[in-house]
């Protein structure tokens, strides 16, 4: 039953894919190629001279035990951000979906945080958890818990995870909510008539039907946590205390834009590119098999 459109000649298909190819070339292949090229040099910041060093930038990085440790930090951070942004989003979407009246208001309110820029979200959370004037840290103090993310690595990690995940909950909510609306009512009603309670219907019918959306969000959120979280980390912890929140992308940013070490920064982006590429392939190969379209 599959429909195929057969184009005669090559110019029409070429024309149709040209805009996408053009955009990919300008915004992806060209900069990625530049990064690969620059990763072979140690340039001075002003671009006055450049030493060809072959793979020495990679050697320098991979022999650094702090850089290797930041792979583990990144894995922990990404898993936590993905879970903390997807599970609450799904929960909120299911709850909002059950509403008959006023769901529009909830929806709007739940989408708002997405409009907050990452750096501002970072400052916001930093204020709430400020060890001296923070509202939350004050309450924790009342409960006898001494909050100090300035020296406690675990607490610092928790804080950057929450700050990074918070805005994403809105984004994920939007997708989950739309997907829930698309679940056929008739299937749900049939199950209800058969006596299945809400949570049973959710686990056996709704969740499997949401799997394409869940998979899409999983990929997108992992990519987000790998690439777009340096603003939050920069404002909250600058990678500290010690190296407990130095994830790979933050190191790319700080070595390149604070340290002016463009060679190392480029090499790190190349490594990051490979890691995320690999991860995406793994996701499509193994996780996608469990997705029902």
């Amino acid at each position: 039953m599959e429909k195929r459109v057969i184009f005669r000649g090559w110019w029409l298909p070429a024309l149709l894919i040209a805009p996408q190819v053009f955009i990919s070339a300008v915004f992806f292949f060209y900069p990625a190629g530049q990064a690969v090229w620059q990763s072979l040099f140690i340039p001075d910041p002003f671009g006055l001279s450049s030493q060809y060093v072959g793979l020495a930038n990679f050697e320098f990085l991979l022999s650094d035990k702090f850089y290797r440790a930041s792979f583990v930090t990144t894995a922990v951070f990404s898993i936590l951000v993905t879970l903390c942004s997807m599970i609450p989003a799904l929960f909120l979407a299911v709850m909002a979906d059950r509403l008959i009246k006023g769901s529009g208001v909830y929806r709007t309110l739940l989408i708002w945080p997405y409009a907050v820029a990452p750096a501002i979200a970072g400052v916001l959370w930093l204020f709430m958890f400020n060890t001296r004037v923070g509202v939350v840290s004050w309450y924790l103090g009342q409960l006898g818990y001494d909050w100090n993310h300035v020296l406690n690595g675990g607490e610092a990690m928790g804080l950057v995870v929450v700050a990074s995940a918070w805005g994403r909950i809105s984004y994920n909510f939007l997708f989950f909510f739309a997907a829930l609306q698309a679940v056929p009512r008739s299937v749900i009603e049939a199950a209800a008539i058969d006596g299945a309670r809400f949570w049973r219907r959710f686990w056996t019918i709704v969740l499997p039907l949401l799997s394409p959306t869940t998979f899409f969000l999983l990929v997108v959120n992992i990519v987000y946590s790998f690439f777009e979280t340096f603003g939050v980390i920069h404002t909250i912890t600058s990678g500290g205390p010690q190296q407990s929140t130095t994830v790979l992308v933050y190191k790319v940013f700080s070595d390149g834009f604070v340290g002016q070490d463009l060679g190392s920064s480029s090499a790190q982006s190349v490594i990051l590119l490979f890691v995320v590429g690999l991860l995406t392939i793994v996701q499509f190969k193994f996780v996608e098999k469990r997705v029902h379209y």
């Binding site: 910041p45 002003f46 006055l48 001279s49 702090f66 600058s238 070595d255 604070v258 340290g259």
Partner: protein
């Protein structure tokens, strides 16, 4: 506020091209906002009004790191300003960029503006001069760390506010007394690496790095794991463990704790004066930075933090003449004295310091001369001239991480500093390679 901003924008975008037809335009990029930004704008305005050949256009480009980045990016695009403000940490990078900057002594000689490099305070000038004694950039805002004392908090804990705090030995005893007297935050600091390692080393006349702290060559190695530094950090680590030293963060977060009256002692830049004097609702003192009695040649002299002005390459001769005139105006005694009194930054010329003293400013504002005295008390040695290390912004980041290891009790001071040396040296080797 908004109106004046729009006005300023309109003025700078609409009026300056018109003016530029008759006058030579000089671009000046800096990192100051708020009160400091207003003061810089006022200086520029005064210069523009004082003559009719040149017009200086000042623009704010973000914080220190962002301003340096903007300058570098602009240079790569061929759009660099004439004058760029660079913080002291970026000095080595600028000095290594021979083709991108024009040394200030050359600019001054070519422009024929009044310039006497001996007029500048030695400890300030030393940071920005080559080993041959030529001034490469113009010192602009310089400060040095001092000890701030909350006299009310001392009294509340039953400690005599006039206790001698000139040595760390005495400070240690005072911290014990403060803690015993119920003070929750006896000591707090800002800029830990700058104060407790970089200035500590200079003040005790022990090397921070080999090759005269990097002044004599790029093949320098960190020496911050020396006996004196480790002993100091060990003591600080013990104070941190006992709750006598409270760690608040890598930058100047501790300032908020001190200004609110929460903490008794605070090691911070002399330029903290503006903020503390306007916010503190308690009686405070400025004291010289403490030193360890009997360690090194303490007290030698402390070194500076802050920024200097660099002249960038690639402009026309008459524009350099304008830049020279402007820099000469900035160093003039009246401008400097006003700057020093308004901001708490050091006067960069001895003459400006004298003028301030003669005007009775120090008597009216006790403690404002502590920093000047502390910096100029001795002729700087090779250990106390300053630091000139490549990638130093990143190295400070490494030092911050390792210090956090000490404060949290995860590492001994020796382990932390050995690790800082190893990691920092790797970056220094990269910098050496990049600038070969």
């Amino acid at each position: 506020m908004k109106k004046s901003l729009i006005g300023a924008l309109a003025a700078s975008t609409l009026l300056s091209p018109v003016a530029a037809m008759a006058q030579t335009e000089v671009q000046f990029w800096h990192a100051f906002t708020g009160r400091l930004g207003e003061l810089v704008a006022a200086q520029v305005e005064e210069f523009n009004a004082s003559q009719s050949d040149y017009v200086v256009v000042q623009s704010h480009k973000g914080n220190y790191s962002e301003t340096l980045n903007a300058g570098i990016a602009a240079f790569r695009a061929g759009e660099q300003p004439h004058i760029l403000m660079v913080f002291e940490v970026g000095t080595a990078s600028m000095m290594a960029a021979g083709g991108a900057v024009r040394p200030v002594h050359e600019v001054m000689a070519e422009s024929g503006a009044t310039f006497d490099s001996d007029a500048y305070i030695g400890a300030v000038k030393g940071y920005y001069t080559s080993t041959d004694g030529d001034m490469l950039s113009l010192p602009f805002n310089s400060s040095t760390p001092v000890l701030w004392v909350n006299r009310d908090a001392m009294a509340a804990a039953g400690v005599d506010p006039d206790t001698d705090l000139s040595t760390w030995q005495n400070v240690g005893a005072t911290l014990d007394a403060l803690k015993a007297g119920g003070e929750e935050c006896p000591l707090v600091t800002a800029w830990q690496s700058w104060i407790h390692l970089e200035n500590f080393s200079a003040y005790h006349d022990v090397p921070f790095a080999s090759q005269d702290n990097g002044f004599a060559g790029l093949d320098t190695e960190l020496m911050l794991n020396g006996e004196a530094q480790v002993a100091h950090l060990t003591a600080m680590g013990e104070w941190a463990r006992d709750g006598k030293f409270i760690y608040t963060g890598r930058r100047n977060e501790g300032g908020a704790n001190f200004r609110s009256g929460e903490c008794a002692l605070f090691t911070e830049s002399s330029a903290g004066y503006a903020g503390i004097s306007s916010e503190a609702e308690f009686d405070f003192d400025v004291r010289p930075l403490p030193y360890w009695e009997g360690v090194g040649n303490a007290p030698q002299n402390t070194i500076i933090g802050g920024a200097s002005l660099w002249v960038m390459e690639g402009h026309e001769a008459d524009e350099y003449k304008g830049a020279g005139e402007f820099l000469s105006f900035l160093s003039s005694s009246d401008v400097q004295a006003a700057w020093h009194q308004n901001t708490g930054y050091l006067p960069i010329t001895s003459e400006a310091g004298e003028a301030t003293r003669a005007a009775g400013f120090y008597e009216a504002n006790p403690g404002t001369d502590v920093a000047v005295i502390q910096m100029t008390m001795n002729e700087p040695t090779s250990n106390s001239k300053g630091l000139r290390l490549g990638s130093f912004d990143q190295i400070r980041g490494i030092i911050d991480e390792e210090l956090e290891g000490i404060w949290s009790g995860d590492k001994t001071a020796q382990e932390a500093m050995d690790s800082a040396k190893e990691r920092g040296d790797a970056l220094l080797r990269r910098f050496e390679m990049a600038n070969r």
